[in-house]
């Protein structure tokens, strides 16, 4: 069985939490004592049914306000697949928390209220999905029960989303599904009330969509997280380089280059605890042994010699700013790229996005939740790939060394001139 991580994005009151509650409820993933707790909490909908939304609002402040502040992770499985849902806040103020939930997702569900259609927040969420390169999108037109299950309303919203968003953002795989999370139409069961809809219902689509592991990317990368050195009598010369293969795959006897030093050697042995596999593929946490003694430490990256990454100290990147303090170009920040941490400075702001209209803005200050393109200068050279081609080795975070907070998400676009 494999696993799909997905997120739900939508504006406040579009019914995200209700949709997740419905998925969990209709797949029998809510246990009796949880249901009992739900009934005890006494929040009912107008029609007397229990409020599924409070299943996901785990914090007091969220229940008080009826909004989602932070990402909640929920788990369920069917016979076909195991799922991890990131229930992310829709409120503009919590965009950074949505990015947190979205960064590991293989699929995004974007909710649209059938009565409201495409709104600014829909564009904002879709833009983030495209920026983070989430491979699959499902547009769920929700609250179809409130518009008499009208085919025209659905068709109009689909046409609108295609023209205003999908085409402009070049979203590749987009499915459109009319649902009512409240009543359960087309969530886990097909709806007779929308006989006109011929596509798959939501769960069926989630169970069958292809998942990506990074294996299909043909450049092979493994950052070194930890050097295993037992230093005992019988393992005196043992020196293993431990890390997770980000993309591609290493096979025994592959020619391996260590960056940034550039030394090349041969892959001698792969260890996975008590196993000695002949291949280490993307996603595996392994320990590698090399033929030659080379100085390698945490922060270095091992790559297949014939597939070199870009090595540069000047990088063009998309930046999502996540701190309440605005970006300060006079400051030095810390940049964490895989296991490597280096000092850096923002040397140029190229533009900022007006996300709601997808227009570029110039000479703007980066404030909380702003997104745009910058040039960054690092103290040490980074060995990276372009995010669009290899997400796993194309992203980094910025840390403010005064507060230690994670203040920015970076997606590398190119080496800058």
């Amino acid at each position: 069985m494999n696993m799909l991580k997905f997120l739900t994005a939508g504006s406040v009151d579009d019914g995200k939490s209700t949709l997740i509650g419905r998925l969990l409820y209709d797949t029998d993933s809510i246990l009796d004592d949880q249901l009992e707790a739900l009934q005890r909490s006494n929040r009912k909908n107008d029609d007397g049914t229990i409020d599924l939304a409070i299943l996901t609002d785990g914090l007091k402040a969220e229940r008080e306000q009826g909004i989602t502040i932070d990402v909640a992770y929920k788990y369920f499985q069917t016979e076909k697949r195991k799922f991890i849902i990131a229930d992310t806040p829709g409120h503009i103020q919590y965009t950074r928390n949505m990015v947190t939930g979205a960064s590991n997702a293989g699929l995004a569900i974007i909710l649209i209220d059938a009565r409201k259609g495409v709104i600014e927040q829909t564009i904002r969420h879709s833009f983030l999905v495209s920026l983070l390169e989430i491979p699959h999108v499902i547009v769920c037109v929700n609250k179809m029960d409130m518009v008499d299950y009208s085919e025209e309303v659905f068709d109009q919203i689909v046409a609108d989303y295609r023209a205003k968003i999908a085409v402009k953002l070049n979203l590749k795989d987009v499915q459109y599904i009319p649902v009512s999370a409240l009543k359960g139409d087309n969530v886990c069961y097909p709806s007779d009330r929308m006989f006109w809809y011929k596509g798959t219902h939501l769960l069926e689509h989630l169970e069958t969509v292809e998942t990506h592991t990074g294996e299909e990317i043909n450049v092979t990368r493994m950052p070194v997280q930890w050097v295993v050195r037992p230093q005992t009598d019988e393992l005196h010369d043992y020196r293993g380089y431990a890390g997770k293969v980000l993309s591609g795959s290493f096979k025994l006897n592959d020619s391996v280059t260590v960056l940034p030093s550039g030394f090349t050697t041969t892959l001698d042995r792969i260890e996975l605890f008590d196993k000695r596999p002949e291949e280490a593929v993307a996603g595996m946490s392994v320990t590698l042994h090399l033929k030659d003694e080379i100085d390698i430490s945490r922060g270095d990256i091992l790559v297949k010699s014939n597939q070199p990454p870009i090595v540069s100290q000047l990088i063009e990147a998309d930046l999502c700013w996540m701190d309440t303090k605005p970006l300060d170009p006079t400051l030095t920040y810390l940049l964490q790229h895989n296991s490597k941490v280096t000092r850096c400075r923002i040397s140029e702001v190229l533009y900022k996005m007006q996300i709601n209209t997808l227009e570029k803005l110039y000479d703007e200050e980066f404030k909380l939740n702003d997104i745009g393109r910058i040039v960054i200068k690092t103290a040490d050279p980074l060995a990276f790939d372009v995010y669009q081609q290899n997400k796993a080795n194309g992203r980094a975070i910025l840390i403010d060394s005064r507060t230690n907070l994670t203040v920015g998400a970076l997606m590398f676009r190119a080496a800058a001139e």
Binding site: M1, N2, M3, L31, D32, D33, Q34, R40, S41, L55, T56, G58, L59, K60, R63, I69, D70, A72, Y73, K74, Y75, K82, R96, N97, V99, T100, N104, T213, E215, Q225, W226, V228, R229, P230, T232, L235, A242, G243, K244, S249, L272, F273, E279, V281, G283, M284, S285, R298, Q336, H337, S339, K391, A392, R395, A396, I397, I399, N404, T406, A409
Partner: protein, 299 residues
């Protein structure tokens, strides 16, 4: 090469997280309760660091009211894997007057262990504590980051958690703060059991069905023991039970069970309509019981 299944994915993710802890912190520790989740963590640490030593000790906060089977398992395991164990005793804090034992029928030392935990962290200056909490356990935990920063009072502030992006974990902290790290955040109870079965990991015997003297209190089966304040109303019965979660004897309820083997347990959990935390008295105090305890420094 066959595609890795979900247990391989979860394992690789957890090993990655453990190695990040080793790489980023000066003095980490692995909090070990003797329960199945922390036992799973120990196996994952073996996978992350063998044939080397763990770059951290195991730390057990002993309430003094533990099941003796758990303590025996702990000591045997530590001897087998050859790693260092540090024990913080709640009794020491009671004796020193830093905490006061609860009174009444439902008295438990569960709350008191937070103080001992924070004192142990301070005494050894641990900057990261690895724990076996899972997000599927409880709705406040569903909100928690993998690297969860605690202030100098051990407090969790759910409203200002750091963004956590991709698999890039930011472990930078100020002196006095520490990070709670949860490598098996994304595992469910069933995942843990399936993993234990796959890896053939030994467990304390109380997880398996056995005969035991129990009393029924607040609708739950509690192990009859000197640690429970019992009176004439409590009727001791002999039953076939097992424990789904292992905590303090005064707050962990048993379930009636004939699951003698791990396959029986997995079948039982798969068919059960009650969550694991349904057997923990401490979560039933109020709707936000767990959130409140975590804000106070509880794991």
């Amino acid at each position: 090469m066959t595609k890795p299944d979900y247990l391989d994915e979860l394992e690789a993710e957890a090993i990655h997280i453990l190695r990040e802890v080793a790489g980023q912190f000066e003095k980490p520790a692995l909090l070990f309760s003797g329960g199945k989740d922390s036992i799973t963590l120990v196996r994952l640490a073996e996978k992350a660091f063998r044939p080397g030593k763990f770059p951290f000790p195991l730390v057990h906060i002993d309430t003094g009211h533990n099941f003796e089977e758990t303590i025996r398992y702990r000591d045997e395991m530590v001897a087998r894997i050859g790693e260092k164990l540090i024990v913080g005793h709640v009794q020491d804090d009671i004796d020193a007057g830093r905490v006061v034992e609860q009174k009444g029928k439902n008295a438990s030392r569960n709350q008191l262990q937070t103080v001992t935990l924070l004192n142990t962290i301070a005494r050894h200056q641990f900057d990261a504590c690895i724990g076996g909490a899972r997000r599927d356990e409880e709705k406040a935990r569903a909100k928690e980051r993998v690297f969860s920063v605690r202030d100098e009072f051990g407090q969790w502030n759910p409203k200002s958690q750091r963004p956590e992006l991709w698999d890039l974990y930011n472990g930078k902290i100020h002196k006095g703060e520490n990070v709670r790290v949860f490598p098996i955040s994304n595992w469910t109870e069933l995942d843990v059991w399936n993993y234990i079965r796959r890896e053939n990991i030994p467990l304390p015997s109380i997880y398996f069905a056995h005969e035991r003297d129990v009393i029924t209190r607040n609708g739950q089966l509690m192990a009859a023991s000197p640690f429970l304040n019992m009176d004439d109303e409590d009727v001791v019965q002999r039953k076939n039970v097992r424990f789904r979660t292992v905590g303090d004897m005064s707050c962990t309820a048993a379930v009636e069970s004939y699951a003698f083997e791990i396959d029986d347990i997995i079948a039982e959990i798969s068919a059960s309509n009650i969550s694991e935390r349904g057997a923990r008295m401490d979560d039933k105090v109020s709707e936000a019981a767990m959130e409140d305890r975590k804000k106070g420094g509880y794991f």
